[in-house]
């Protein structure tokens, strides 16, 4: 019986990471209908932020505060990922509202760029990038104003950005000759975040042995859930967000700044991805490919839970998390060893992480046959299901 509790607890911990990861996605997808394939990469940014914060606290004046670095990392990761998401919304997604399939492809492109960015980012790279962006932004102001009226103004714009990019690349490769500047910050290898001592122990509850890190993740998830619920239901901006979700044009007429609402929603959703990234670092080493491991699971959670309902997200994520862990660890066999041979074989067949995913996803697809709109579908009558 202890073993059963142990399995359930571990499944719950895995599931709560999934809740945290899918929560941001549910906010963005459920409220705005935007498919953000770069969500996993925003998680990765959160994880790397944790790594940087940890390194800051490891040596130097802040060394004494090392046990508390994770508490600093959480808001900082929220901020970094949130701002990255905001930038994404302002530059790309804004142009693509109402075209979900295009958004999907564009954000996938962004995710590729972010992945390669953390692999190859170095001081020289950053300097080159900043100079290129600055040049591209400043160039139109330096050119004679009358030129912007000419027929070839669009060509000029493209050319000036290309030139700025070339200057940036030249600068970056020039500075790459300097050893210090050429050193990649993270490189393609996985990074390991050392959890503070108080997160490395475990709490013994007689029957069950609970690692503190996992308890922390569960607590963090619960906190995030409460915060998001409060934000959406009680705060002024949350109410505005829900109003825009329900009827965009009417909200606009009533004076709600819909563009700000969009940006804010995206910021919150992306920030939550950053917090999820912090949680992931506590489970093991993370790398540039972190996002790819989570993104499909997160979307399955959102689809299974039903769009626009936080409760659905929570139930679906916990369900998928617990089920995959229980099946993948094969612990059903340990709990009930005396099983018929056929069933025994079946469970062993699926008792790896990847095979468990095969079974769980197949179950989700079967479930969607009966409830196409997910666990908690939105009420209403529409032609477009």
């Amino acid at each position: 019986m202890d073993l059963l509790y142990d399995t359930l607890f571990n499944g719950l911990a895995i599931g709560s990471v999934l809740v945290l990861a899918a929560l941001g996605l549910a906010v963005v997808f459920g409220l705005m209908g935007v498919i953000n394939m770069a969500h996993g990469e925003l998680m990765m940014l959160g994880a790397y932020t944790t790594f940087v914060v940890q390194n800051l606290f490891k040596n130097g004046p802040l060394e004494g505060l090392f046990p508390l670095y994770i508490l600093v990392a959480i808001p900082l990761a929220f901020l970094v990922s949130g701002l990255a998401g905001l930038l994404l919304e302002k530059t790309v997604i804004r142009r693509l509202y109402g075209r979900p399939l295009e958004t999907l492809l564009a954000t996938w492109g962004v995710s590729l760029i972010l992945q390669q960015f953390v692999r190859s980012v170095s001081s020289a790279f950053v300097i080159g990038l900043l100079v290129a962006v600055a040049l591209g932004l400043v160039a139109p102001r330096l050119l004679p104003r009358a030129w912007s009226q000419r027929r070839w103004a669009p060509v000029l714009g493209v050319v000036s950005w290309v030139m700025a990019g070339l200057v940036g690349i030249a600068l970056a490769s020039g500075l790459g000759g300097v050893r210090v500047l050429d050193q990649p910050w993270f490189s393609a290898r996985n990074i390991d975040v050392t959890a503070p001592v108080w997160l490395r122990g475990s709490v013994d509850l007689g029957a069950v042995n609970m690692p503190t890190a996992r308890l922390f993740i569960i607590a963090l998830t619960a906190l995030a859930l409460v915060a998001v619920h409060w934000f959406l239901q009680k705060s002024v901006w949350g109410i505005r967000i829900r109003a825009v979700t329900q009827n965009r044009s009417m909200s606009d007429c009533l004076g709600i700044p819909t563009e700000t609402v969009d940006a804010l929603t995206f910021l919150v959703g992306s920030g939550l991805a950053g917090v999820a990234g912090v949680a992931v670092t506590l489970l093991g080493s993370v790398g540039p490919n972190l996002g790819g491991n989570y993104i499909v699971d997160c979307f399955m959670v959102v689809v299974l839970g039903g769009v626009g309902k936080l409760l659905g997200t929570v139930v679906a994520a916990l369900g998928i998390g617990v089920l995959s862990y229980v099946i993948g660890s094969g612990s059903l066999l340990l709990v009930w060893p005396a099983m018929p041979a056929g069933l025994n074989e079946l469970i062993t067949f699926f008792a790896t992480t990847s095979m468990a995913k095969v079974l769980v996803f197949a179950l989700v697809v079967v479930f969607l046959q009966f409830r196409p709109a997910g666990l908690f579908p939105q009420k209403g009558r529409m032609v477009e299901a």
């Binding site: 790309v92 693509l96 999907l104 492809l105 962004v110 590729l112 060509v155 689809v303 995913k357």
Partner: protein, 378 residues
């Protein structure tokens, strides 16, 4: 003139088929053959995405199924009778798994390459379309299905050699090694013929009533349904056809690259397939093939020189195509893109106004006699 125009592409194609094998080194020819075979899966995606509006992120499933069918057949072909493929020994498998048995037969394999993916696509599509799941939900579900297949093939060492995949180089077809240069040249020709056949099939499908129905599904599915059509049947059928094309493409790709592995079902690869179509021009058949060949050639060139920049370029392409070139290169060309550029940098073309005043020779002559400029100002 018109006759010349219809014949010219075919002449060029035949010329390419005859000349390229002579002038390209075997390695480059093999690459071109591979990319052309990817053009077939791109055509399938164009059919379901460009014409029917369903963005599938799971074409890798069908691609890899076709590849595995041919891979299994060639594994068995390379063996003396009664023996097992080598990798089975590593996992202690003594008897050939039952589902391998029919792949001894070349005929069964040739059927399996396209029938099996079509069946899987048909069943999967029917289950999804029946519930009117569409749009992004369809995309997500196909991606999840892809992950399911990937994990399954990746994890089953004892059945299909798991993550290592199946090699096809060492088998002999008609006494010729599959990996040899002359065999690869034959495969190039086969690919070329099949690409043209696939293109013709797609063209035949998209012209006429069936094609109209597909476009109607893309543009307004409820209205089509209310008109008395059953979109589910059309969507299932076209998804199965795209699956079959992906299977053929995967088989051709496998024999030309010498291996089939679960990496063909990796999530990024299937999304890449979509971007070939997007860059070439969705809704234009030739664009799909062109996009597949161009992007892959660019990829192989860039990866040879600066491997770490390819992801940046690819990501940038995604962004550029979606925001600036929604109809792809071919669509841009057909909608007068070059003329727009020409108009921007000078020499704006004469606007043919109704009733064609600018182009009427009599008006032109009169204008020249008067000595006025086309804009009307003296």
């Amino acid at each position: 003139m018109a006759k010349w125009r219809t014949w010219l592409p075919w002449l060029l194609l035949v010329a390419a088929g005859l000349i390229l094998p002579a002038i390209l080194p075997p390695f480059r020819l093999n690459l071109l053959g591979r990319f052309l075979s990817l053009g077939i899966v791109a055509l399938g995606i164009d059919l379901i995405w460009g014409f029917t509006g369903m963005l599938s992120l799971g074409q890798g499933i069908f691609f890899a199924l076709g590849g595995y069918a041919v891979g299994m057949h060639l594994q068995l072909l390379a063996l003396p009778p009664g023996e097992l493929p080598e990798f089975f020994g590593l996992y202690g498998v003594k008897a050939l798994p039952a589902f391998w048995q029919p792949f001894h037969s070349p005929l069964f394999t040739a059927l399996c390459i396209w029938v099996l993916p079509a069946l899987v696509a048909g069943v999967l599509g029917y289950l999804v379309f029946r519930n009117r799941i569409k749009g992004v939900y369809f995309s997500i579900l196909t991606q999840a299905a892809l992950l399911v297949f990937f994990n399954f093939f990746n994890g089953q060492q004892k059945l299909i050699n798991g993550t290592n995949g199946l090699k096809t180089d060492t088998a002999r077809i008609f006494g010729e090694l599959v990996g040899s240069d002359s065999m690869q040249r034959n495969l190039f020709w086969l690919t070329l013929v099949l690409v043209v056949a696939a293109w013709a099939l797609c063209r035949w499908l998209t012209r006429g009533r069936f094609g109209d129905a597909l476009i109607a599904i893309r543009d307004d599915e409820p209205r089509l349904r209310f008109t008395g059509y059953n979109p589910t049947a059309y969507k299932t059928l076209v998804f199965a056809i795209a699956g079959a094309m992906a299977g053929v493409s995967g088989a051709l790709y496998t024999v030309q690259s010498g291996i089939v592995s679960p990496q063909y079902m990796a999530v990024p690869f299937s999304i890449e397939m979509v971007i070939w179509v997007a860059v070439g021009g969705r809704g234009t058949l030739i664009g799909a093939v062109l996009g597949a060949v161009l992007i892959n050639y660019a990829k192989s060139l860039v990866s040879e020189q600066l491997p770490e920049t390819w992801l940046f370029i690819q990501g940038g392409l995604f962004l550029l195509v979606v925001t600036a070139l929604p109809d792809g290169l071919v669509g841009w060309w057909r909608q007068g893109g070059p003329r727009q550029i020409q108009a921007m940098v000078g020499w704006p073309p004469l606007a043919p106004t109704y009733p064609g005043l600018d182009l009427d020779p009599a008006v032109q002559a009169e204008r020249e006699a008067l000595g006025s400029t086309p804009g009307g100002a003296p």
